[in-house]
C-alpha cells in the first residue's frame, strides 16, 4: 500500500532553517551533554596521573614546589610583606587556575577539532571541561595553602568561608576568556603560541609575587585598575591572607567584569560555532 505523505505531516526533530538563538541553543545542548563534561574532566585528571606513583598528590605538590622556589628567591626581597610565602601562594593559586584553564581550553578545541568534523558536539563542552579540571586542581591546592598559612603563623579566619564566591567569579571570568580564545584559535592557530607569551607578561604585571605598593606611584592606579586579574586575585587573596572581606571597590568591578566577560564570550562563541566545521 502506498502512503502519500505531504511534507507538512512529517514531524522533524531537526530543521537547519528553524533554530533558536545560537546562545540559547548552545546552553540547552551543553546541559544535555553534561555527562560528557564530567567524562572529559575525569579523562584529564585520570590520564594525567595514571602512570605516576604519587598520582593526584602532584596537584598539591606542584604549587608547594613552585612556592618553595619563589619563596626562597623573593622572601628576602619583600621582607616588608608579612608571611610572604602565604601572600605569594594565595595569589599564585588563583593565577595558576586562570592560566592553566585558559591554556587548556585552547588545547582542547584543537584536540576536539578532529571530532567536531565528524560528530555533533556542543563545542563549549571543551572549554567548560577545562575549567572543571582547573576547579578540581584549585580545590586540591587549597589544602597545601592552609598548611602553609599555619606553618608561617598566619591565622585562618572565618572569612575563609567567603572563598567559594571569588572562585565562582574567577570561574566565570576564565570561562569567558577561554571561549573568546578558543574561537580565535579556530581562525588563527597562532593564538595558541601568542597567548603563552601574553599570559607570562600578564602574570608579571599582576601583583602576585610582589606587593602592589612597589609599583611606581605614577602608574600604579592604572596598572591595577585596568587589569581584570587584579580584582580576581584580590578577591581571592584578601579573605585568606588578610582575613578580611574584600572591599566594595574591588568586589563591584570584579563582579561586573566576570559576568560581562562570560556573557560576551558565550554569545561570541555560540554565534561562531556553526562556522567552526567549515574552518577547522
Amino acid at each position: 500500500m502506498k502512503q502519500i505523505q505531504t511534507l507538512q505531516n512529517v514531524e522533524f526533530t531537526y530543521d537547519s532553517q528553524n533554530r533558536r538563538s545560537p546562545a540559547l541553543e548552545e546552553l540547552l545542548d551543553v546541559i544535555q551533554y553534561r555527562d560528557l563534561i564530567y567524562q572529559l574532566i575525569r579523562r584529564d585528571i585520570v590520564a594525567r596521573y595514571k602512570r605516576s606513583v604519587l598520582g593526584v598528590f602532584w596537584t598539591m605538590l606542584q604549587p608547594l614546589g613552585m612556592m618553595l622556589v619563589m619563596g626562597i628567591v623573593f622572601s628576602a626581597l619583600f621582607r616588608q610583606v608579612e608571611g610572604y610565602v602565604a601572600y605569594l601562594l594565595s595569589g599564585l593559586i588563583a593565577w595558576t587556575f586562570f592560566a592553566q584553564t585558559t591554556s587548556a581550553a585552547i588545547f582542547q578545541i584543537v584536540w576536539g577539532s578532529t571530532l567536531i568534523r565528524r560528530i555533533y558536539i556542543p563545542m563549549s563542552a571543551f572549554s567548560i571541561s577545562s575549567i572543571g579540571t582547573g576547579l578540581v586542581n584549585l580545590v586540591l591546592s587549597l589544602i597545601p595553602l592552609l598548611i602553609i598559612m599555619l606553618a608561617v603563623g598566619r591565622p585562618i579566619r572565618w572569612t575563609i568561608v567567603f572563598i567559594p564566591f571569588p572562585i565562582l567569579l574567577l570561574t566565570a571570568f576564565a570561562l569567558g576568556v577561554s571561549l573568546i580564545l578558543s574561537t580565535m584559535t579556530v581562525y588563527f592557530p597562532d593564538v595558541k603560541e601568542m597567548y603563552q607569551i601574553v599570559v607570562q607578561a600578564w602574570m608579571y604585571l599582576t601583583p602576585i609575587m610582589y606587593p602592589a605598593d612597589i609599583l611606581p606611584e605614577k602608574y600604579r592606579f592604572w596598572l591595577l585598575h585596568l587589569n581584570p586579574m587584579y580584582y580576581m586575585i584580590e578577591m581571592f587573596r584578601v579573605p585568606i591572607y588578610e582575613g578580611v572581606l574584600p572591599t566594595a571597590d574591588v568586589l563591584i568591578p570584579g563582579i561586573l567584569i566576570a559576568l560581562a566577560t562570560l556573557l560576551v564570550g558565550w554569545v561570541y562563541f555560540a554565534n561562531r560555532a556553526d562556522e567552526f566545521a567549515y574552518t577547522i
Binding site: Q3, Q5, L7, V10, E11, F12, T13, Y14, D15, S16, Q17, Q32, Y33, D35, L36, Y38, Q39, L40, R42, R43, V46, A47, K50, R51, T114, L115, I116, R117, R118, I119, Y120, I121, F188, D190, V191, M194, D274, A277, Y278
Partner: protein, 245 residues
C-alpha cells in the same frame, strides 16, 4: 514509508583565503588593505535528497566528490550554506578509528568517554555496558589501557558503542573495511537488523561491492553534483563507466 532525511537544495560552500597567512598580524594588515581574496569552493551543489525509513543508501563517488560533506550535513556537523536540512530522530555517526578515544584510559573508561561524546548519558551507558563489551568481544581486555589494543580491537569497540542503541539514522563512512571477516559479518547483520526496525543508513565506501551487497538505493556524486540516483546496480555501473573513461 515516512521520510527520515529531507535535503532541499543543499549547497555547501567552503571559503578559504587564497594566500596562506602565516600570522595574525600579517592577516590583519592584509585585511585592512582589503587584500584578502577568498577562493570559493562548492563542495555540494543543489542536492535534493529524500531518505525514507528503513532505507540503506549507498553513496559512491571519487575522492573529493562531496560524499563526506554530505554525511556531515546529515550528522549536523555542517550547517549548509544554502538550503534546508530536516531530520527525524537520533543520528548515530560511526567515528573513524580511535577518534574520541584516549590511549591511557582503559577500554571500559573509553566506553564512557566515547559514549558521552555520542550524546548518551552516563546512566544509559551503565545499563548497556555488558552488552557493548560482549558485542565487541572484549571481555578479557576491557580493563587494560587502550594503547595496548590493536586497531581491529579499537574498531570493534567503536562500532559496538555506536550501534548498541538503535539509531534512527546511522552514518557509516568507510568503516566496514576494518576488523576481521568474522566481525564484519556481525556488523552487517546488525545493520540489517536495524533496517528491519526502521533505521535509515547512509553508507560511503570506496568498495562498490560493499555498496552492492548492502544498499537498497544509491546515489553517485561527482564534483558536488548528484549525477545519478536510483537502483544500486545501475548507479554503480554508471559510476564505474565514468571511471574507466
Amino acid at each position: 514509508m515516512k521520510s527520515v532525511i529531507l535535503l532541499d537544495n543543499i549547497s555547501v560552500r567552503y571559503r578559504a583565503p587564497e594566500a596562506k597567512f602565516g600570522t595574525l598580524k600579517e592577516f590583519a594588515i592584509q585585511l585592512i588593505k582589503q587584500n584578502v581574496r577568498y577562493k570559493e569552493f562548492l563542495a555540494l551543489r543543489d542536492i535534493n535528497l529524500e531518505v525514507k525509513e528503513g532505507e540503506i543508501l549507498g553513496i559512491v563517488g571519487r575522492n573529493g566528490a562531496g560524499k563526506s560533506t554530505l554525511l556531515k550535513v546529515v550528522s549536523r556537523v555542517l550547517i549548509p550554506t544554502q538550503g534546508r536540512v530536516r531530520l527525524k530522530g537520533r543520528v548515530s555517526p560511526l567515528l573513524e578509528l580511535g577518534a574520541g578515544f584516549h590511549p591511557e584510559l582503559t577500554g571500559r573508561e573509553n566506553i564512557f568517554l566515547n559514549g558521552t561524546l555520542l550524546g548518551h548519558t552516563h546512566r544509559e551507558l551503565e545499563t548497556r555496558l555488558d552488552e557493548i563489551i560482549e558485542f565487541a568481544e572484549m571481555e578479557t581486555f576491557i580493563d587494560t589501557p587502550l594503547r595496548t589494543y590493536s586497531s581491529g580491537m579499537i574498531a570493534r569497540l567503536g562500532f559496538s558503542i555506536a550501534t548498541t542503541w538503535k539509531p534512527d539514522i546511522l552514518i557509516l563512512d568507510e568503516v566496514l573495511s576494518v576488523g576481521d571477516e568474522n566481525f564484519r559479518d556481525k556488523c552487517r547483520a546488525r545493520i540489517e537488523s536495524f533496517q528491519g526496525q526502521g533505521t535509515s543508513t547512509l553508507l560511503v565506501s570506496h568498495n562498490s561491492s560493499n555498496i552492492e551487497a548492502m544498499c537498497t538505493r544509491a546515489v553517485w556524486l561527482d564534483h558536488g553534483v548528484m549525477k545519478a540516483e536510483g537502483r544500486v546496480t545501475e548507479v554503480v555501473e554508471l559510476y564505474k563507466q565514468s571511471q574507466q573513461n
